[in-house]
């Protein structure tokens, strides 16, 4: 039945299918799509599911693979082999838009979703992390969003019993209308434990639905956040997805048990585009067909139509393939945990997915058309030209008094204030594996079988991305790797969550491509493959785009968990050394974003290797990578436990404030050994080491009138964020 132009336009708009995409669909089907097929294409050809604007660039991550990679199939979590039978699965994902609409549930369901990507592989979740970007605290709704997001992450993560061990919270005006909420999860496969895959296998095997009943969650999409709601717009309100961490906990235990007992052929979580994506993807990957009886799907709302069932984003549901002989055991197992497990279909050889409603065939469609044949776009971009490089940076003509005021200012606000009011809401120790939690930049857990230290850190500094997208992207991998190195940890693998604005704008796409290239290069140099990831495009509101933000999650390994260097001064009379890598200087925080010099990824890689070696051979009492805000701020933060330092070198004001990539603070009683180590190294000509100060109780004296009262700094820092996370919302 041919559609008239007006109806076609409306339908395309409703299902978010472009005209060209519609033509392509007609071409592939060799006819016009049936009513029931519109939602299938709408879901599977969406940017979120198909990666149509990013796919050709993401393929570059394939170059970073090495022998440690067990699985990097793109959609689910990647798995790397740590040796000794221990394997780690991990992935990062965004939940930006839902969190802007309903922050508590948006963030909570983000955590739930990423966890499912982990345990669907058979890995027990052992850690959660998050990467958050908020706007100006004074922006409309921002306080409500901040409190809601943290509360949501806390409520879900704590209840499901997985520790939230690290994270990063950034603030920048560019996120005021598009906050970023990225969630990361890590799972552990212990020696001998089975990995579960997601390809449908075995003609005649049952397709089994497990978990929560299906309701209208997420159906009809999300309305624009700026739309006001009144009691007459019931129909327009998005059906907010509600997460239930208790239910998820039951799902984790039952699925892991089923997988380890060999009752499951393959399994996939129902995430974005729910039943549609899981069924079609499993069939396509396994090169099989499937008969799916939508009327067999357990429903919370019996009025649901086939389309609604296909599009529902109800949480905490999985799709499994199991052999007929194992079905009874499967049902019994899930019933023990109080969950529904019911047959909704069957696998067949013929490569079509046939959708039935009360035995009536609604449609029969080749899954490859939806999965493999999704559009691939080559959005225009230009080669990266570092538009904000300058030959010289303006002199930082500050008085000591101004520096002091600035420093105390950022320490007392959201820029550099303590994040403790946030992470104090997260259970960091459930699982009894945590050695360093969220109070440190790098989280470290002790692997139960080998006793080795597993490390996790997130990366990407928005200010650096504003200075230069390529440098910012290098830094998003190298900075966490540096933070790990100074604790004796070797970075092993990377996951990413690429948050960008509108990819149809060449300037944004150029930043995207430059970022992917930089991350690829960094990953190859570090021998840390990018094994999984996620892309979030269209973080744009009324023409205003976010800062391009390639958030990363880096995992690493340490021989053991003893003798970990602290993040703060902890003992008097030790030398405070500063190691500087020459070559790149940025403008100061709060100034016009610019940079001078070159970012040399090769040298940064060498620095990382050397620092890691030094951290194990000449262990420091404390070590830190100097962040944005310069050396003075870094030392101030290291003094917050009550032991500060007394400088015996009179540095210029600008030296205390300069943003240099990179500077490391190293606190030790073996200064000569450390200096010699670098003098004899390959970087001898590229680094300089300053013997800056001596640690001293209750004193922070950086010379030239830069003296601080530690109790005052402690108070400013600890109170900075307190008022924002104390339950503004009921």
């Amino acid at each position: 039945m041919k559609l008239d132009a007006a109806t076609l336009k409306t339908k395309c708009k409703h299902y978010r299918i472009s005209n060209e995409e519609y033509q392509k669909i007609c071409q592939l089907l060799k006819r016009e799509p049936l009513d029931i097929e519109w939602p299938l294409f709408s879901a599977l050809w969406s940017e979120h599911c198909s990666y149509k604007s990013s796919k050709i660039h993401l393929r570059k991550f394939g170059k970073t693979m090495n022998a440690t990679v067990v699985n990097a199939s793109g959609e689910n979590a990647g798995i790397i082999d740590l040796g000794q039978g221990e394997r780690i699965a991990f992935k990062m994902e965004s939940h930006n838009h839902p969190s802007f609409i309903e922050p508590f549930q948006g963030a909570a369901t983000g955590v739930g979703g990423i966890l499912r990507d982990i345990f669907t592989m058979g890995a027990r979740p052992i850690a959660l992390a998050n990467y958050l970007c908020f706007g100006e605290v004074k922006a409309p709704r921002m306080k409500y969003l901040m409190d809601g997001v943290v509360h949501g992450i806390s409520s879900y993560g704590n209840c499901v019993g997985v520790p939230t061990v690290t994270g990063q919270t950034n603030f920048d005006p560019s996120y005021s209308q598009n906050i970023l909420v990225n969630a990361l999860a890590v799972g552990l496969l212990r020696p001998g434990e089975k990995i579960a895959l997601s390809q449908a296998q075995g003609v005649g095997n049952w397709v089994v639905y497990v978990g929560a009943k299906t309701g209208k969650d997420g159906v009809h999409g999300a309305a624009m956040a700026s739309e006001a709601f009144d009691e007459n717009s019931e129909a327009k309100k998005p059906n907010v997805q509600i997460g239930d961490p208790y239910f998820e906990k039951l799902l984790i235990e039952s699925c892991l048990e089923a997988i380890q007992q060999g009752l499951v052929v393959s399994i996939q979580d129902m995430g974005a585009a729910g039943l549609t994506s899981s069924s079609f993807e499993m069939a396509s990957k396994g090169q099989m067909g499937m008969d799916l009886h939508l009327d067999q799907v357990p429903l919370r709302d019996s009025s649901m139509t086939p389309e609604e069932i296909l599009l529902s984003e109800s949480q905490e549901r999985m799709l499994m393939i199991c052999e007929p002989s194992k079905l009874e055991a499967v049902e019994k197992l899930f019933s023990k945990w109080g969950l529904d497990a019911c047959v909704v279909g069957k696998l067949k050889k013929q490569r079509t997915v046939s959708l039935f409603w009360n035995k009536e065939l609604l449609t029969e469609i080749d899954p490859d058309l939806l999965v493999e044949n999704a559009p691939v776009y080559e959005r225009p971009f230009s080669a990266w030209a570092s538009p904000r490089r300058v030959s010289s940076l303006p002199d930082l003509k500050f008085s000591a008094a101004k520096v002091k005021i600035e420093l105390m200012q950022v320490l007392s606000n959201e820029i550099a204030g303590s994040r403790r009011p946030i992470y104090r809401q997260y259970d960091q120790r459930v699982g009894a594996m945590t050695a360093h939690g969220a109070e440190s930049d790098v989280a470290i857990q002790r692997l139960p079988d080998s006793g080795r230290g597993f490390a996790l850190a997130v990366g990407c500094r928005p200010f650096l991305m504003q200075v230069d997208a390529q440098i910012g992207a290098y830094d998003s991998v190298f900075y966490p790797a540096l933070q790990m190195a100074i604790k004796g940890v070797r970075a092993l693998a990377v996951t990413d969550c690429l948050n960008y604005g509108n990819p149809e704008r060449p300037e944004i796409m150029s930043e995207f491509v430059a970022s992917v290239d930089a991350i690829t290069e960094a990953s190859i140099l570090l021998k840390a493959p990018v094994i999984s990831g996620n892309v979030s495009f269209y973080n744009e509101t009324m023409g205003s785009n976010i800062t391009s933000t390639p958030a990363t999650g880096v995992v690493g390994l340490r021989d053991h968990v003893d003798g970990l260097a602290a993040d703060r001064f902890g003992k008097e009379g030790l030398k405070v050394l500063v190691l500087r890598l020459k070559g790149l200087e940025l403008s100061g925080f709060g100034q016009k974003p610019q940079f001078k010099g070159e970012y040399n990824p090769q040298k940064v890689t060498e620095l990382i290797a050397l620092l890691r070696k030094a951290a194990m051979e000449i262990p420091p009492q404390a070590s830190q990578v100097v962040g944005l805000g310069g050396l003075a701020l870094a030392l101030a933060k290291m003094s917050l436990d009550g032991i500060g330092c007394q400088a015996h070198q009179d540095l210029s004001i600008s030296s205390w404030m300069k943003n240099i990539l990179y500077q490391i603070v190293w606190v030790t009683d073996q200064a000569e050994a450390f200096e010699k180590f670098f003098q004899n190294s390959i970087l001898a000509a590229d680094v300089e080491i300053l013997d800056l100060a001596i640690t001293k109780k209750s004193v922070l004296d950086l010379g030239s009138e830069l003296q601080f009262s530690l109790p005052e700094l402690q108070k400013l820092s600890s109170e900075a964020l307190q008022s924002y996370f104390q339950g503004v919302s009921t």
């Binding site: 806390s154 961490p245 906990k249 945990w337 992470y423 809401q425 009894a432 104390q726 339950g727």
Partner: protein
């Protein structure tokens, strides 16, 4: 050799941590599923671990306290068997009226994960009997505020049923900073902090080791 039973309710999270701890100490742990009864003579002690049984829905510990297994737990404790409730386990024991009082929402209305200083002010018949004076343990709870009516507090002290108090800082508004209590016969014990998370230097402390 008798076993130490580790109760598992729907939603319990810290069961595996407690199980490992028991093994490390050389005892014999066994999981007890909340829907089944157990032979009380087979066990030398029971531990109700922390977590979010039934999601903490309705009231923390309320639904778990009405699980079938609690029949055996009550019988076991009636016969003098030692029972330890940690965090959610403490909440369940209070809801089951095996311990006095109730645990309600933290005063600050938010979950707290932190290390706290505790003072040992009572003696249980079986748990932490070597612990004296002040110790440091981690807490992680949203509903840790201990409540007992004013009129019953003195009696609680008089019968030596106050087990631990928060020192220096009361993190959740518990009445008189009470962090743990004992039953009249001292065989049932409950506390909000997690001893199983402080049994190694790399964890940040070892004061929890001697609780078993």
């Amino acid at each position: 050799m008798k076993k130490i039973g580790v109760l598992r309710f729907s939603g319990t999270n810290c069961d595996r941590d407690v199980f490992s701890w028991i093994q490390l100490k050389g005892f014999h742990p066994e999981y007890l599923w909340h829907l089944d009864q157990f032979a009380i003579n087979d066990y030398e002690a029971l531990i109700l671990p922390g977590g979010f049984s039934f999601g903490d829905y309705l009231r923390s510990g309320a639904l778990a306290a009405r699980s079938p297994v609690m029949k055996s737990v009550k019988e076991f404790s009636k016969q003098g068997g030692p029972v330890l409730g940690i965090c959610n386990g403490f909440q369940i024991l209070c809801e089951a009226e095996l311990l006095p009082g109730a645990l309600v929402k933290n005063e600050g209305r938010r979950f707290i994960d932190d290390w706290v200083d505790l003072q040992c002010v009572g003696v249980s018949s079986r748990f932490a009997s070597q612990v004296k004076g002040s110790i440091r343990l981690p807490i992680a709870h949203g509903d840790g505020r201990y409540y007992l009516p004013e009129k019953d507090l003195q009696a609680l002290w008089d019968s030596g049923q106050v087990w631990f108090q928060y020192r220096n800082e009361n993190p959740n508004g518990s009445v008189q900073g009470i962090a743990g209590v004992l039953s009249k016969n001292k065989n049932i014990a409950g506390l909000m902090p997690h001893p199983e998370r402080a049994i190694a230097d790399w964890m940040g402390g070892t004061d929890g080791w001697s609780f078993l």
